[in-house]
């Protein structure tokens, strides 16, 4: 068994906008997720987080690059092996309101995957559904209710129960808490952490809530316009970010602590994310970067290890870090 459960090399996912233009949603990304760890994925809206997660799960066909799951290349999987992969790798969606079919009961929603992947008797199936409802903090009373009768937090729990139903080893959590209230966010995050402890799950946790990502992740990857610009331990990303974009992103987090007027003054990132359609050559961040020099506009920096376990894609990162 290798160290990594999921590994992608040179992953690209392009969308053809029209005959002439290509949108590079994920562009030459390397990603490797260890067994039992949570890899956080952050970045501004549209930078490719969801596309990356979905391509890893084979919900999108990669344009190029390789994806390994448990050591096997997934594009080569067929028949039984492919089914097994789909069973092992699950997803929890962003929007608890639209991701569940309102006409199905909760038990039907949870059982859907079980019918495909597990051969259970009706009795075993019911027991398992009740077990799952309890595991996510609901009761068996919910089994026969409809999704539209549930609150956002309850629906998100059903989404998690559905993903857990087939005993996966890997779950992509795509903004699982963004649509929820703060108090419910904390409940869902606690639940994910507990389930990981009990079942040894591996997560890719996508979110734009940076303080939650820091809390739940072992390592964090930062994406900008389809590229991975920094990857390091959660600790290092938040306390000693090295890429200029990560630094700006971290400094933009409004911290929920009040320690006087002085702490309110911060450095700001100007401008907005440019279009991922036919991006210019060179570093994608160059138009907004205050350290940019000639080379940045010409050559795309490679993601390289600058300290043990700390990878950065920047021509000048060794000169600017604080």
């Amino acid at each position: 068994m290798g160290e990594y459960l999921v590994e992608a090399k040179n992953l690209c996912k392009y969308f053809q906008v029209d005959r002439k233009r290509t949108l590079k949603a994920v562009d030459h990304v390397d990603i490797a997720i260890r067994r039992g760890e949570t890899l956080g994925l952050v970045g501004e809206s549209g930078c490719g987080k969801t596309t990356c997660g979905r391509t890893l799960l084979h919900l999108y066909d990669a344009t190029s690059g390789e994806i390994y799951f448990d050591g096997k290349e997934i594009s080569r999987l067929r028949g039984k092996e492919l089914l097994e992969f789909k069973h092992q790798a699950q997803i929890v969606f962003q929007d608890p309101y639209s991701s569940l079919d309102p006409r199905m009961t909760i038990s039907e929603i949870i059982a859907e995957g079980m019918d495909v992947h597990l051969k259970l008797s009706p009795k075993e199936k019911n027991e398992r559904i009740n077990e799952l409802l309890l595991a996510v903090g609901l009761t068996d009373q919910f089994a026969n209710r409809f999704a539209h009768e549930l609150s956002g937090g309850q629906r998100q729990r059903v989404g998690i129960a559905r993903a857990l139903a087939v005993d996966p080893s890997f779950i992509v959590c795509d903004e699982p808490i963004s649509a929820l209230d703060v108090s419910i966010q904390a409940q869902i995050v606690n639940l994910l952490i507990r389930l990981q402890r009990e079942r040894g799950l591996t997560y890719l946790f996508i979110s734009h809530d940076l303080s939650m990502v820091k809390h739940i992740s072992d390592r964090v990857g930062v994406m900008y316009l389809g590229s991975m610009v920094e990857l390091a331990s959660s600790e290092a990303i938040f306390s000693a970010p090295k890429h200029p974009y990560t630094q700006a992103l971290i400094s933009a987090i409004p911290v929920a602590d009040f320690d006087g007027e002085e702490s309110r003054k911060k450095e700001r990132l100007e401008g907005e994310v440019p279009s991922p359609i036919d991006p210019p050559p060179g570093c994608r961040f160059a138009p907004r970067c205050r350290y940019a020099t000639d080379i940045c506009h010409k050559e795309m920096p490679k993601l390289e290890e600058v300290e043990r376990g700390h990878l950065v894609a920047c021509h000048h990162c060794l000169n600017n870090h604080s």
Binding site: A186, Q187, I193, S211, K214, H215, A252, V255, F258
Partner: protein, 338 residues
């Protein structure tokens, strides 16, 4: 405080087929010129309902603002305003920006036209002057190439730019009060920071008072002067931003402060999560609304509504723990120190 808005005993009800939903249950507060007051609380606690009632944006018969509610703008009784005065109030004196700019911008009209409309109606400018002023407003909210973007349609702009157009529209007539309902919730942190900076700048320039509705405590800590914590249609605690973050007294405020992971906490530690749900607002409430979820709940809490206790000129809390005979309890701050 140079008072621009006074609200007393505001009550708003929604008449539904299941019964009367009493969404706002006697809310009182004041707002000073140039001041930023934040409303915070769980979804459904009545923040938006309160904000819209100030401008009388609710329409009878399904929504009712109870007759003994008081809303005074600059000493003038808003509840008694006629149609014409209300229209000028909404155009000139108080304006509101909504969470989702797409639903409040007209998709079939250029952003310039939309800003110009208000300028022509409320400030009596002619077409050429209004266009000039619209371009100035777009420049002020830092829309790039305003001369060109004045002719853009909303869908041609990014989310952050649309939100800034909304702000430009809301500020076009230089209102004394801006009500911003979750103005940055749909935006990324970087764009959020830009929009908040912009609001701050405008506030200093034009001395606009701001009511900021948000559930993001980080935004409040960085932006508000005072905070009002709401629960089940009532204000349960109010104070300066410093008082609410550093000296809060209400168990619900503690729960809110506690459920955000501080950037400094240990990874993967259990986060504090409030259990249960807020009370059903159709039912009458004659005791502390937080009682069912409060870990400090005492007998009296389930029997009688706590009165508002004054702790300082700015800090007030409605909780039985402030009663002289109540036991001393371990607060959120005591626990955090451990």
């Amino acid at each position: 405080m140079d008072r621009i808005l006074n609200v007393e005993n505001l009550q708003v009800s929604f008449h539904t087929y299941a019964g009367e939903v009493r969404a706002v249950r006697g809310v009182s507060f004041e707002l000073g010129r140039g001041e930023t007051l934040a409303f915070v609380g769980e979804s459904g606690c009545g923040k938006t309902a309160t904000a819209k009632a100030i401008m009388r944006l609710w329409k009878p018969p399904f929504v009712e603002i109870k007759s003994d509610s008081v809303v005074e703008y600059n000493g003038e009784d808003v509840m008694k305003m006629d149609k014409k005065r209300l229209q000028s109030l909404r155009g000139n004196d108080i304006s509101m920006i909504f969470q989702d700019p797409m639903t409040s911008l007209n998709p079939t009209m250029t952003v310039g036209k939309q800003i110009m409309e208000g300028l022509q109606l409320h400030r009596g400018l002619n077409k050429a002057q209004a266009r000039e002023e619209a371009i100035n407003m777009l420049r002020m909210v830092k829309i790039p190439v305003p001369e060109k973007n004045v002719d853009s349609y909303p869908h041609q702009l990014s989310g952050g730019m649309r939100q800034r157009v909304m702000i430009a529209m809301a500020l076009a007539c230089q209102p004394s009060i801006l009500i911003a309902d979750e103005p940055t919730t749909a935006l990324d942190v970087t764009i959020q920071a830009q929009v908040l900076d912009l609001l701050q700048e405008l506030k200093t320039q034009l001395n606009t008072a701001i009511i900021l509705v948000t559930h993001d405590l980080g935004v409040i800590a960085n932006f508000a002067d005072r905070v009002q914590v709401m629960y089940a249609g009532q204000v349960v605690e109010r104070g300066t931003t410093k008082e609410i973050f550093n000296e809060a007294k209400h168990p619900y405020t503690w729960a809110l402060l506690n459920s955000v992971p501080a950037l400094a906490t240990e990874n993967k530690q259990e986060l504090y999560a409030l259990k249960g749900t807020p009370p059903d607002l159709i039912l009458p409430l004659n005791h502390c609304p937080f009682a069912a979820r409060c870990e400090y709940c005492m007998g009296i809490c389930r029997e009688q509504m706590p009165e508002e206790t004054t702790l300082s000129g700015t800090h007030k809390v409605s909780c039985w723990l402030e009663h002289p005979n109540a036991p001393k309890v371990e607060s959120f701050y005591d626990r955090r120190k451990k």
